[in-house]
Structures are given as C-alpha cells and as structure tokens.
C-alpha cells in the first residue's frame, strides 16, 4: 500500500509458477486471493520478458549511472544550487577545500577547474570532467593494454597447460619405463 501511494503508476506482478503451495487447492485459493487485490498474475517466462523490456528502457534513462549523478547532485545541493542552474567555480572550489578529503575524484575536479579557467560549471559539465572516458589513441597508448589483454595471458596459459600434455606419459612410458 505504501509503495502504491508513493508510486501510483506502479504495477504489481505475481509469478504464478513460483508458488510454494503444497496442493492444487491451496495454489488456486492463493491465486484467487491475489487476483482480488488488483495484481497481475504472470508466469516466470512472461516475467522474464517484462524484465527484459524494463531493462532496455532503463538503459536509455539518463540516471543509468545512478551513483555518479547522485554524487553530482549532492555537490550541487551542498552548494545551494537549484535544478538546471550552474554553480560558481569559486564556490565549488571552497566547498571541496572545506571537505578536507584526499579523494582522487575531488582532486581531479579541482585540477580540471584550474586548467579550464571556466567561471561556472553545470551538472553535465561536471559529469563530463569526472567520468567521460578518454579513448586511447596510437600504438604507444594501446601497447600496455595489448600486453595485458593478449600477450601475457597467452604465454601464461601456454606455460601452465604444457605439463598436462606430457607428465602422465613421461611417468608411465618415459624415464626408462617403456
């Protein structure tokens, strides 16, 4: 009920084939009772497809990376900035300084603000500064990744798998035991 008040558009689904009733009568009685409480009774496979749709739609939501946006919202609300407004860079800087935190996120933000020379910063700009991925370009930047992703795993695997292809024969047929 509390959830229905908070989220009036919420739909409730009950998975019928997840029933723990020990007899068919009890199962049907349970379904009847549930049906009276305006909920939808679905099978596990139907629930699966509903979930797939939900997952697809929530991926499009801008709150996909929820913690990232929540943090930005906290910073802006601590600075007393309303929705869709930008924050003064000086206010942000003193806000960060007053936290006395050695978090790498906050130091990255301070460094970027100093380098950019901007007077104001929006939520989207802050997200970009903190979280937008920098793509590697050129061989020299990709080389460490190549070593870790292909070269070392390949050689590690060769080295640790070789014993399985000769030890049993070496003991039973090699070493002068043929």
């Amino acid at each position: 009920m509390a959830a229905a008040k908070l989220l009036p558009e919420m739909s409730t689904y009950v998975i019928a084939d997840g029933c723990a009733a020990k007899s068919l009568d009890k199962h049907e009685a349970a379904l009847e009772k549930i049906a009276n409480e305006s909920v939808n009774v679905v099978s596990a496979s139907e629930a699966e497809s509903i979930l797939a749709e939900c997952a697809a739609s929530s991926k499009q939501s801008f709150l996909d990376d929820s913690d990232e946006w929540l943090m930005i919202e906290k910073i802006f609300s601590a600075g007393g900035v309303g929705r869709n407004e930008s924050m003064d860079v000086d206010i942000l800087r003193s806000l960060i300084e007053s936290l006395h935190s050695d978090s790498s996120i906050l130091s990255t933000l301070t460094d970027s603000l100093e380098a950019s020379g901007e007077k104001e910063i929006s939520r989207a700009q802050m997200h970009k500064i903190l979280f937008q991925r920098k793509h590697r370009s050129g061989f020299s930047e990709n080389f460490p990744l190549l070593i870790l992703m292909s070269y070392l795993p390949f050689l590690y695997s060769v080295s640790t798998r070789i014993p399985f292809i000769f030890i049993a024969l070496e003991i039973t047929q090699g070493r002068g035991r043929k």
Binding site: L6, H27, L70, K74, I105, T108, Y156, F166
Partner: protein, 596 residues
C-alpha cells in the same frame, strides 16, 4: 602400491600380473605429481589474494614469473644427457632421467611452475589499466567485461597452442624439448611483464594511493557531504537543547548501526574525517569546534546560505559550549580522548539512516538466494569434470587407442577442443546481442528459448558436459573424440555462464567473497581429480570419466529445478529498485508478493 613399485625394477617384469601392479604404481605417481602441481597453482592464487595488495602486478608478478622460470629451467637442465644441448630441439636417444633410475623426483620442480598461476594478477591489472582511461579513475564496468572476455579468449588460445605444440614436441623430439619450450615461453612472459612494468612506471597516470576504488570512491564523496549535513543538523538540535537532540533521533538506529558497521565506504569516509580533525590537536573540544566551524563554512559557501536562519544556534549556546556538548554525546566513555571508533560508531548509523531512512525494507531484501550458493558450489563440482580431462585424457587416449594415439595426436585433439571452446564463447557473445522474432505459438521454440535463457542455460550446459564426460569412456575412437570435442567446446561456456550468473545475481559487495570461495573450491576440485583421476584409471579405464561425470550431473539437476523462479524474483527486485530511483523517490517501501 608404491611399495610394489619400488620392488619392481624397470624392464624386469616377469608376468602380466606383476606388470599390472607396476603400472598401478606408476598411476599413483602420476596422481601425486599432478596433484602437487595443482596444489601449487592453488597456492599461487592464494599468494596473490593474500599478499598482492592494491597492485599485485608490481608486488608479485616478476617474483612469481622468476620462480616459474626457475622451475622450467630446472626441468630442462637437471640430468640432461650430453647429446642434447639446451634449445637444440633435436631428437636424442638417452634415457631422460639422467641415469635411467625412473625417479620422478625432478618432476616435482613443476611445483615452481605452478606458482606462475598469475591470471588473477593479469585480471586486476587490466581493471586498473581500464580505470586509467577515466579522468576520476573509475573504470567502465561494461568495457572491463568486454576486455575480460578477450583476455579469456587468449587464455583459451594459449591452451590450444600448449596442447598442440607440447604434444608434438614430446612425441617427435622428447621430454627435454618440451621443457626447453616451457623455458622459452616463461622467459618471454617475464620479459613482457618487465616491459609492462616499465611502461606502467612511465605512464602518465597511475592509480592514487586511495584505499577505495571504482564506485566506492563516488560513494565516499556522497558520504562526506551527507556527514557534513547530518553533523550540522545534530549540532543544531543540541543547540536547541540536548533533550531535543535525543528525542529527534530517528527510530531504527540500532538496525542502522549493524548495517553501518559493515559499510566499508562509510567507515572509511568517517575515519578520514576523524583523522583530519582530531589527530592534529590534543584538545578534543577544540577539534570538535574546528569540525563544526568547517561544516558551517561549507554551508555558508552555498549560494542560498544567506537565506537560512541562524536563529536556533544563536539563541541557545556558544560554539565552544556546543562543541563540548556534542563531544560529550559522541563519547561513550567519560574520560580519555575521543577515539576513531567512537566517532565512527556514533555518526555512522545516523548518516546511514539519513540516506536510507525510508528504504529499510528495500535494504533487507538484499539477500543471497539459496540457489546462488548452489551455483557457487556447482562451480567447484563442475571443475571435477575439466580436472579429470586434464589429468587423465592423455592417459586414456594413449592406453585405450595405442595404435592411433600418441602425445602429438592427443595434443592436437585437446587443442582443437579448446579452439572450439573459444569459438563457442564468441558465438554466444554474438548471438546474445541479437533479437529474434517472437513466435510464442511454437511449443518447441518456446522450450528451446527457455533452455537457452538464464539461468536454465547453466544446468543445461552442465548436463551436456557431464553427459559428454561419461560418453567419452565409450570404447570407440570416433565416439570418444566426438564427445571430447563437444565437452571441450561447452566447458568454457559453462564456466563463463556461471561467472555471469554469479556476477549479476549476487549483491556486488558480496560478489568478491562468493567468487573467491568459488575459485578456491575450483582449484580444490582440480587437485582432487589430479590425484584420483590416474588412480581410478588404474582400477578401470572408464571409471574416472563415469564417476566424475555422474558426480557432477546430480548437483546440476538440482540447480535446474531450483533456479528459475528465484532468479526471476531477484531480477524483479533489482528492476523495481532501479525504477523507484529513476522516478526520483527516496522513500521506497518495497513489497514483494510471492504467490503462496
């Protein structure tokens, strides 16, 4: 049986019974050597987990690579006949044990080779390297998952090459050429590790010395802001009268205390705050005053600060007295200095409650479903099947089909199987990204769809793997090869599917623990099969594959019965949480209706 072996001189077998006893003894030795090797691989993992620290590559990779190189060098040089020089790769006629005594002792140097089990280090380094691409050092999880799959593909490709080249070298040249090959490979590995270390040292950015990483860093910042707000509100309440502060305490503080205690990030943030303010000066009251002043200045920084009323604090007491009062309430003992523990345990529950105040029910849904524990255990049991193939497939092929199989042929067959495994994983990644037209009327298609979907695909693939393991024991070369190929192809898929299932259905903070337990159990399973495989093979050639195939089949059956509905329910809760968040509701009361 070992005693019988020692009483039986090489080449002096008088009758078939005696010969059989000798063979049984040799199988025991195979079990002991391979078991030792698997134990050392498990130990390698354990060393990385226990002593690897934040950056295990810097700390352990070179050391473990050197130990593995020493192992291969020892195997390649100890008792080496003079007619074959290192890296000559030419056939030789001498006995391979430096005297023809048949001693297996030098083979225990494989223990050092096994310590080179460093895949966990490579995975961790790949995560750190990916994190460097983010300005704030937070890795993109989907990108890491994609890179892990490429890394895993190269591991499988390495296994393919190891089986094919190793088998061919052993058959055409001999034991020392395989050890030479191992030495070259390990030396190249060491060289690559040194190059990477050099590049990482000269890289433009490395991870900061923070105790936290990933999403924890973000949460830590959120907690710092929340802490400031909670401490400020509490001190205002105290300024209005301590009885007011006590009565305004929210209900559920004791529940929150339990949860706050286990929140590593919250404890880290508060600990950092304590250390900054309370370790600088010797007087706690001055320190507390400084903390309150700092929070006040933070709030005064806000653009709307001028609008907030200062009346309550101004009316009640001065800042020094307020600090004394707050300190009195925070301290659990009257005398002595305020400790970090007191500070954290006082503010932790209040901050936790202020963030999750109305979502206590949602938090309590954070459960590990019983079938997920079964999946973790199944990881270990499934390792029995692959373990039995690793330890006994070579013996099985060469003993059952001696006219058709030598090490080179077996290596080729196992290598092709591993290659098929890589292709199956790539095909699965490709097909899972495609959408198909709905045709719900087709019953057969519906059944197939249900089998291919999560989580039913895990027991299904395991069922196929177990069946292949058992059918491999059929005394027909074509049948054995067919089922070995199918087994190799689906084995990697089963491991990958179980990782995916655990990764997505267990709360992230519990993932490391359960995955760690699963990996440790896997190694234990490998060790058991390394020892028992050859011994069972000595009893009956079909026994190891039939026994471990059937043993693995039973838990996968139970998993298939229990998993689907629990999994759907778990995902319902996840999606409901996600939707409530998207709709901007902090006050989430989540009711989960389960029929019956």
């Amino acid at each position: 049986m070992i005693e019988v072996l020692f009483l039986c001189p090489r080449g002096m077998h008088s009758d078939s019974n005696h010969l059989h006893l000798c063979f049984l003894g040799e199988l025991w030795e195979v079990g002991v050597v391979l078991g030792t090797y698997q134990v050392s691989r498990a130990l390698g993992n354990l060393i990385v987990v226990m002593f690897g620290g934040k950056d295990p590559f810097k700390r352990l990779q070179i050391l473990l690579s050197c130990i593995a190189l020493f192992g291969w060098s020892f195997l390649a040089l100890f008792g080496r006949p003079s007619e074959t020089s290192p890296f000559s790769f030419t056939p030789y006629l001498s006995e391979t044990d430096g005297g023809g005594t048949g001693s297996i002792m030098p083979l225990f140097a494989l223990f050092c080779v096994g310590l080179g089990e460093t895949i966990v280090i490579l995975q961790r380094s790949l995560m750190m390297e990916t994190a460097k691409e983010s300005p704030s050092g937070i890795m993109d999880e989907s990108l890491v998952a994609q890179r892990f799959s490429y890394q895993y593909a190269f591991v499988s490709f390495g296994a393919t090459c190891a089986f094919i080249v190793g088998g061919w070298l052993y058959t055409t040249i001999g034991y020392y050429s395989v050890c030479d090959f191992g030495m070259i490979i390990q030396a190249l590995h060491l060289l690559g590790a040194l190059v990477y270390l050099f590049l990482a040292r000269n890289g433009k950015k490395s991870l900061k010395g923070d105790e936290l990483d990933g999403n924890d860093l973000i949460r830590s910042v959120i907690y710092r802001f929340q802490a400031a707000s909670v401490i400020s509100k509490y001190s205002q309440d105290v300024a209005n009268g301590t009885e007011h502060a006590m009565s305004s305490e929210s209900q559920g503080l004791s529940d929150a205390a339990i949860k706050a205690k286990s929140d590593r990030v919250l404890n880290h943030s508060l600990g950092e705050m304590y250390r900054h303010f309370f370790l600088q000066k010797s007087d706690d009251v001055v320190c507390m005053e400084e903390l309150l002043n700092s929070i006040e200045s933070t709030q005064a920084t806000g653009v709307n600060a001028s609008l907030t009323s200062k009346r309550p604090t101004a009316m009640a007491i001065g800042k020094h007295k307020l600090s004394k009062l707050v300190l009195f309430l925070v301290k659990s003992k009257g005398q002595g200095r305020l400790t970090e523990r007191e500070f954290v345990s006082f503010w932790g529950p209040r901050i936790y409650l202020s963030i999750y105040e109305s979502s206590q029910e949602a938090k309590s849904v954070n459960v590990i479903w019983p079938y997920m524990r079964a999946v973790v255990a199944t990881q270990a049991i499934a390792a029995l099947c692959i373990g039995i193939f690793l330890s006994t497939a070579l013996l099985s092929y060469t003993q059952r089909f001696p006219e058709r199989c030598d090490a080179a042929t077996v290596g080729l067959l196992l290598g092709i199987g591993e290659g098929a495994g890589v292709l199956v994983i790539f095909a699965k990644s490709y097909l899972s990204g495609r959408k198909y037209k709905e045709s719900t009327n087709n019953l057969l298609l519906g059944i197939l769809k249900a089998i291919v979907a999560r989580p039913l695909n895990v027991p299904f693939v395991l069922f196929v793997a177990c069946l292949c393991s058992m059918l491999f024991s059929v005394d027909n070369f074509i049948v054995a090869v067919t089922f070995q190929m199918i087994y190799s192809a689906v084995n990697d898929l089963a491991v990958s599917l179980m990782n995916e299932l655990i990764g997505t259905s267990i709360p992230s903070e519990k993932f490391k623990y359960y995955q760690g337990i699963g990996q440790w159990l896997r190694r234990l399973g490998n060790m058991v099969t390394a020892i028992l495989g050859p011994i069972f093979f000595g009893i009956d050639e079909r026994l190891p594959f039939l026994f471990f195939g059937k043993f693995t089949l039973s838990p996968s059956d139970k998993l298939s019965v229990s998993s689907p509905n629990y999994d759907v329910l778990t995902r319902c809760i996840d999606v409901a949480r996600c939707h409530c968040f998207c709709m901007g509701s902090d006050a989430l009361v989540l009711n989960v209706h389960a029929c019956g």
